[in-house]
Structures are given as C-alpha cells and as structure tokens.
C-alpha cells in the first residue's frame, strides 16, 4: 500500500524530475477535469465520480500541429512536427478511461501507425484509481468492465483505510512504484459497480436495422453540438486543416465529431448523413458494430460522459436501453 501523503510526495517527485504528470483536478467549482498538474496539491484522489473530459487528450490532443510550412515564391519548406517521446504519467485515471486507451490503440496502429499517438502512448505510464462511487450514468459493467477493471492501466490504486492498495500490472507500473510502497496485511475492498443496464450484443443486433424509427424520434432533441464525442474517452474522429497565411503556417489535426452536420458534407453539397438521426445512428453503429467487427472490441467503456455532458440530457445510455428494449430477451434469437 501507499499512504496518500507518500503518494502525493511521489507525484511531486515525478513532476520535479521533469515528467509530465496529469490527473483529475477541480478546474473550477464542482467542475473536475483531467489536467496537467503543476503540483500534487492539485491532484484529486477522492470525492469525484468522473472528470468531465477523458485522458485521451494526453495521447490525442484536441489540437496538434502535424507540420509547419513556409512559402518562398514557388518553393515550399516543410518542418515535421512529430512529437518527441516525452515521459508522462497519468495518475488517478478512472478504469473506464484507461480501458479506452487500450481500445484506441487498435485504430491508431492498424495499417500505417499514427506516431503522434503511438509515441505519446509508448512514453506514458497510466495509473488507474478504482471507483468507490458511481452515478446514474455509469454503465461500465454493461460493457464488461468494472470499478477496478485493469484494462489499459499500468498500475492501479485501490482506496483503503489510510491510503491506497497499489496493484502493479505492467513493468512500467512496477518501475513507477518500486520501493515506494509499504506492506500491509489489509487489502482494499472495492464495492460492486453499477448494475448492468444494457447489453452490447443486443445493441449490436438492434443496429442491424438501419431504418429503425427510433433514430428519428429519440434524436429530435439533439442539438448536434458534439459534446458527447468530445468528452468521450473513445471517440477519435479528427479533422485536418491548414492554419496560416500566404507566408507560412501549419497543418493541424483537430478533434472533430460525427455529430456535426459538416462532418461528411461533400464539396458538391451532397451530404450522406444530413439529418441528426443518421448521425446518432452512425455514432452508435461505430461503437457497437463497426469497431467490434474491425478491431474486436466495443468502442465504449460505459463512462457515461456522453450523457453527463449532454446539454439536453439526451442520454446516449437511454437510447441504448431503448434499443435493447426492442429486442427479444435472448440475444441469440433472430428477430
């Protein structure tokens, strides 16, 4: 185990050694986010359910330069902006966020590797913080995870009397805590997570019907703001744009969302997904059918951020439950 005091001292040690450290912190009253930490005093280790963002931005930033260009007459000079492999530690990430990174590895590594992601990922150590509380939006147990799921984590902190049980999962995790823990005859007791609320298999089955009228009715309230995808730990769509002028500038990767109306619009004006129902359908399809078919895993960790951050309380979980409700009890049965 490690006491909270010793843990904070360790975090300060990492920061002092030049390692980038990020973790949950109150950025304003009642508003918790994962942010880069200047000192362990900012680090939140209890009393929060889930930060408003996810840890994906430490591997896949909202905005990042791909390269810089300089125009000189007819000539162009390009400067590669590939990131350096700077060590970073993500501390106190919720298990649903660490699992998301493990899931995202597949898409950034298939075919051509996206080294903007993989370099940061390779240089990062992720320490999860097991959950002792959950709210009505949490549904990790429905997608095979749970309050102390180890997926994607290098080490895990499990809250217990006087500190945390430290569970080292990978060599990276062991290296981080080597010699810094003390033995204890007690172990942490992690309560059960949220009850199972829906079944990915049933959602998948329901998604085979592209013309399900649910997509028209359930999505009428949607504002097409994209908050669900921006705060989602697994949504990873991005845009590539030029920012600069006739002398020079950069090309950048920026977060994008399939919920925005311009996302698929052709230059001709034709838009394959021109109504919100189609866009919500796409997002759900991508998470529960396309990604599992291609990469073998559901692109959702049940963190609940999509519903928690929705300005009209649309509740993606609610839509999923409705989808499942239409299905017969047995998943294997045909419609």
């Amino acid at each position: 185990m490690i006491t909270q005091q010793a843990l904070r001292a360790l975090v300060d040690e990492w920061i002092g050694a030049g390692t980038k450290v990020a973790g949950p912190s109150y950025v304003k009253k009642d508003f918790c986010q994962y942010v880069p930490l200047a000192s362990s005093a900012e680090l939140l280790l209890e009393g929060f359910i889930h930060p408003r963002n996810s840890i994906k931005e430490f591997f896949f930033p909202r905005h990042e330069k791909i390269y810089e260009y300089a125009l000189k007459g007819h000539e162009v000079e390009l400067a590669d902006m590939s990131p350096a492999s700077t060590p970073q530690v993500i501390i106190a990430a919720r298990p649903c966020d660490t699992a998301a990174v493990a899931i995202l590895d597949a898409v950034f590594n298939w075919g051509d590797k996206d080294e903007f992601y993989t370099r940061r990922r390779d240089a990062a150590t992720i320490v999860a913080l097991a959950c002792v509380q959950h709210d009505s939006q949490c549904f990790c147990t429905s997608v095979g995870l749970g309050p102390d799921a180890e997926k994607g984590a290098d080490a895990m902190l499990l809250p217990m009397d006087g500190g945390f049980e430290v569970r080292c999962i990978t060599d990276k995790g062991r290296a981080l805590f080597a010699g810094r823990t003390q033995s204890s005859d007690k172990t942490a007791v992690i309560p059960e997570g949220p009850k199972v609320k829906m079944s990915p298999e049933q959602v998948r089955k329901a998604l085979e019907d592209y013309e399900n009228p649910l997509w028209k009715t359930a999505t009428l309230r949607c504002l097409s703001c994209g908050a669900c995808s921006f705060t989602c730990p697994t949504c990873h769509c991005f845009d590539i744009v030029d920012e600069g002028n006739a002398h020079g500038g950069c090309r950048a990767k920026n977060w994008d969302s399939c919920q925005l109306c311009m996302f698929t619009k052709h230059a001709s004006g034709h838009n394959p997904r021109n109504v919100q129902g189609q866009r919500q359908r796409q997002r759900t399809q991508h998470k529960f059918r396309i990604y599992p078919d291609k990469f073998g895993e559901v692109l959702c960790t049940g963190c609940g951020n999509c519903a928690r951050n929705c300005p009209v309380s649309l509740g993606v979980l609610g839509t999923l439950i409705e989808l499942c409700a239409e299905m017969p009890e047995s998943v294997g049965e045909s419609k």
Binding site: V76, F108, W110, I240, R251, D256, F263, P272
Partner: protein, 277 residues
Amino acid sequence: MSNIYMPDLMEVVEVKQHTADVKSVKIRFKDAEKQKNFSFRVGQFGMYSLFGEGESTFNICSSSNWKDSIEFCFRKTGKVTDAFWRIDEGDTIGFRGPYGNSYPMEAWEGKNLIFIGGGIAMPPIRCAIWYALENRAKYGNITVVYGARTTRDLVFADELDQWAEYDRVRIIKCVDPGGDTPEWKGEVGLIPNVLAAANVAADNTAALVIGPPIMIKFTLPVLDKMGVSAPDIYTSLENRMKCGVGKCGRCNCGPVYVCKEGPIFTMEQLNALPADF
C-alpha cells in the same frame, strides 16, 4: 516515413483547363528518386495539398504506365479547389498516396468492358481506359458511355477521339437535352436512356459506373436488363476524407473505411452497406 500525414513536395508540370470549372494538373515529385520509385494502381487516390489552403482527395487520373508524372483533375467547388484553380506551372504542391484499393484490371482481363461516366466522373474512369488501351490485347470490346450536361462540360473531350481510334472501341458521347449545339455529333439524352438505346452486347462484361448518385441509380436497372449483374458492376465512392489512412473516421460507411477498403466497390458490396454515401 514516421509522420504519415507528411506530404511529398511536387512540382506542377502542366495545368489544363477542360471546362469553365474543371482543370487537370500534371505533377511530378521534386525528388527525382521518389518519382522513379513511385508506383500505383489505377483506381487509387491521393491527398493533394495546397499549403495554407488545405488538402483534398482526388483520384490519380493518369495511367499507372506513365512513369514521368501523375495527374489529377478537379472541379472548382470549395475552398481548396478554388485555390487549386489559381496554381500554375512551376508551383509547388503536396501529395500523399497512393491510397485505397484499385480497379481489378487483372480480373477484368478477357472481359468486355463498359465504362459509364457522368460529368466530372470522367477522370477516375480515364485512368482505367488508358490502362486497358495500353494493354489492348488483354481486354475484349471496350465501350465508353460519357455524358455531360452540355457540350461545354465534357472533360478530356479530346481524348475521347483518341480512344475511338483503337480497335474494338466504341465511344458514345451524350449531353443532356438542351445541352447540345447544332455542331454536336453525339447523342442527346440522359445516360441511362442513351445506354439502353445503344444496343451494347453485354455478355462476359464488367461495367465501371461513376457519376452523381442519381445517374448511378437509374443506370443500374439498365445494366441489369442488359444482363450485367451486381458483382460485375463497379463504382468508386466519393466519401469525404481527411487522413486517407483509416484513422480520422470521416469516410466510414457502415462497416467499411472507404479510404482503406475502398474507394472501389462492386454493386453487390454496396447493396450490403447503409446508404451513407
């Protein structure tokens, strides 16, 4: 290369204006070694950059047998193509590619080919036509049905005449009713009707159909009646793309990443996808 989004620098060798809003551009790698080693298959696409303006996706519309340069063709319709309209010989642009799958030119050997294109769809067909003509002995009869709104909207019009000079090649040009001039020697009518009336033998045939969704929709029943079935009808999807390498999620259509598993699909494959294209 470790940065997969980094383009190669290309010199603009030639710019040719085809219609009031369509140009084709011939480009060459600035690095002669790269030009020498570059190869692609007809049907593949590239990402073309104009620095400060952005990046656009176009098919490589030259034949893969032409080693000296590659060509792309565009219609002036948006921010990047507006800027491409202003480029000139000697300018520098960026290129990434080749990406995506290609036409099954080997599987088509021994078959009769029907190429059907509407308007700006000629460039992605043109590369396959030239490739087939350059390997003339390997393919059966070649029929090209090319339609545009008016006589002034035909792209690569001069090449249609060159193709007609090859053996066993039939070129059917058409323009929409009202788009003809007194001098027009081609057909007048919409592509599906022109095709239906053209009496093209369709045994042992593969068809490549590219054009606006509405044209494709009405051409398919005609092909079906002629006896060309869904597994033998090919098209190229034009989903919007950004990365071209299966990361950014934009071209996603049902279970496929169009940039990786496409852009060339048979109608049989498309029938199994949602209509997100």
